[in-house]
């Protein structure tokens, strides 16, 4: 790896921390290292940073100061919503989610059902681009529904759901509306008040902040049972000494991202479209997910027929290009991506899918290199494949 130039196109997995963010975090390791709960000056200064950071993040999503609590990341925030809301509303037992949620939402719901069979989960179907049908959502709401949770920007195929439409329905029907916005945060405008969002999951390491820190927006007045009990930090909802360096870094990352939002997202969208155009020239390819404004500006997901994703990933890795795949072969469960199956891909097409996810650091030259390298790699693997390249398996939707 030494000396080799890496083209990192796995930013939906995690991003490089911005140098300015590293700078903003530094003092909190060994200069302002106080516990934010302590009354002495080092503690007070840490406490001020905690408050300021919360305000910065609240501002970015149109929330009020004090409606943000910090967590360890997206997984914790999503778990806190589902389990915390379930325990706070024991008389209600129905949740509505989509088939394309992140594993942490799916598995938190499954866990609830495993401890109490009274819990029922409705999985909303999506169309071949990954969009839910709002009519179907409306029909699914029952008197005992306590939560609708819909992922904002999908992590695999980039589909951006219409949160305004969903929020309106949920508010009218009096059910809580949560969205997992880990991928879309700072890339797509979010205003929790205008969109009638009750709870919003966001995190830091997808936006060039540090890992291990995230946040949850909880609309004033909503009660959640904590997952962690202890000293009562974060309004008693999330005990544990606050990760001040991480939180300061998160806030700085948000500040930078919001300041450069238009510049960065326009640039990424342009590179995204160049990449799609370039890769689609290879025969036997198909873009997964929508095109244009309803797609995350940094997401490209392509199926290459007759070959398998882990192999493509391995050959690209050798060329210094880092991507990810929806193939079963690279997952812990040996199941192909549930998202790709939900949009109607046959398993054999899901196996051959590759996700390229860009960042603000991605350059024209990098995209051109990828456009040149991918057909070579695909060609080598197709020479090994017993299947006909032009015979892309016909999908269901």
């Amino acid at each position: 790896m030494a000396g080799k130039k890496i083209i990192y196109l796995d930013n939906a997995a995690t991003t490089a921390v911005d140098e300015k963010v590293v700078g903003a975090m530094r003092p909190y390791f060994n200069k302002v290292y106080g516990n934010a709960s302590s009354i002495h000056m080092l503690g007070q200064e840490a406490g001020k940073t905690l408050e300021k950071s919360g305000n910065e993040i609240a501002k970015a999503i149109g929330a009020e100061a004090g409606e943000i609590i910090f967590t360890s990341g997206g997984t914790e925030s999503n778990n806190l919503v589902i389990k915390g809301l379930a325990y706070a509303n024991p008389d209600k037992k129905h949740i509505i989610i989509t088939r394309i949620e992140h594993d942490c939402v799916l598995n938190a719901c499954k866990w609830l059902q495993s401890i109490n069979q009274e819990y029922k989960v409705t999985y909303l179907d999506v169309d071949n681009e990954g969009f839910i049908n709002t009519k179907e959502l409306e029909d699914a709401i029952r008197p005992d529904t306590f939560l609708v949770s819909v992922i904002h920007g999908n992590n695999e195929i980039g589909t951006i759901q219409d949160l305004t439409a969903i929020g309106k329905i949920c508010r009218n029907r009096g059910v809580y509306f949560h969205s997992d916005a880990c991928q879309s945060f700072t890339k797509v405008n979010i205003n929790v008040k205008k969109m009638n969002i009750d709870l919003l999951t966001i995190n830091s390491h997808k936006i060039h902040g540090p890992k291990g820190v995230g946040a949850l927006y909880i609309r004033n007045g909503i009660k959640l049972n904590p997952l962690l009990h202890g000293g009562g930090q974060e309004k008693g909802i999330r005990s544990g000494t606050e990760n001040i360096p991480g939180i300061a870094g998160f806030a700085e990352a948000v500040k930078i991202a919001m300041k450069n939002q238009i510049k960065d997202t326009v640039k990424m969208a342009k590179l995204r479209d160049n990449l799609i155009k370039g890769l689609e020239k290879t025969p036997g390819t198909k873009l997964n997910g929508p095109i244009g404004e309803k797609r995350l500006c940094n997401n490209v997901n392509i199926t290459f027929s007759a070959i398998e994703g882990e192999s493509i990933l391995g050959y690209l890795d050798k060329e210094g290009i880092c991507v990810s795949t929806g193939s079963a072969c690279s997952s812990r469960t040996l199941e192909p991506s549930h998202v790709l199956l939900a949009i109607g891909l046959k398993p054999e097409n899901a196996h051959g899918s590759i996700r390229f996810s860009l960042s603000k650091y991605t350059t024209d030259a990098e995209i051109n290199k990828v456009i040149k390298t991918v057909p070579k790699v695909v060609g080598v693997l197709r020479k090994m494949s017993p299947y006909n390249v032009h015979n892309l398996y016909r999908d269901k939707k």
């Binding site: 398998e308 882990e310 192999s311 050959y315 072969c329 690279s330 090994m384 017993p386």
Partner: protein, 146 residues
């Protein structure tokens, strides 16, 4: 890469041996399913040769012949493990008598590659099965031919 493969697996994955088809192969083996993500085709050319082993002297002057794999090629769609096991099986089986080739099992394949990750032992270690399928395809063809 996502999975921790041995150096040998990576070598065979990046530079697989005996890729391709044999036109008019004497036997063709096929295992796997595109739905699972791994499919292997193994093509063999079978010829006869005089037995070189020590047993020869005991048989004395009688002509002892055996069938062996003169040439072998593969085509595989699958992950790194699937490609690497396909490649190594062609090396293991080439020039072996059919009887010897039939004895090559999944563990031999994995061992020759300095091991496979446990998760891959089951799903992608299909090469030995593909080879056995090719040999039985040859034998069936031969029986039908007679």
């Amino acid at each position: 890469m996502t999975i921790n493969y041995s150096k040998k697996v990576k070598e065979h994955f990046m530079h697989p041996k005996n890729v391709g088809e044999i036109k008019n192969a004497d036997g063709v083996g096929q295992v796997g399913n595109p739905v699972c993500g791994d499919v292997m085709f193994v093509y063999i050319k079978v010829r006869k040769r005089k037995i070189k082993s020590k047993i020869k002297s005991k048989i004395k002057k009688e002509k002892a012949e055996e069938e062996y794999i003169k040439d072998i090629k593969f085509k595989t769609m699958g992950c790194a493990a699937a490609i690497a096991t396909s490649s190594i099986i062609t090396e293991l089986a080439k020039n072996k008598s059919l009887e010897e080739a039939e004895k090559i099992n999944r563990n031999d394949v994995a061992e020759s590659l300095d091991g496979l990750p446990p998760i891959k032992m089951h799903c992608s270690n299909l090469a030995a099965d593909a080879l056995h399928d090719a040999i039985s395809n040859y034998r069936i063809k031969k029986l039908k031919g007679k």
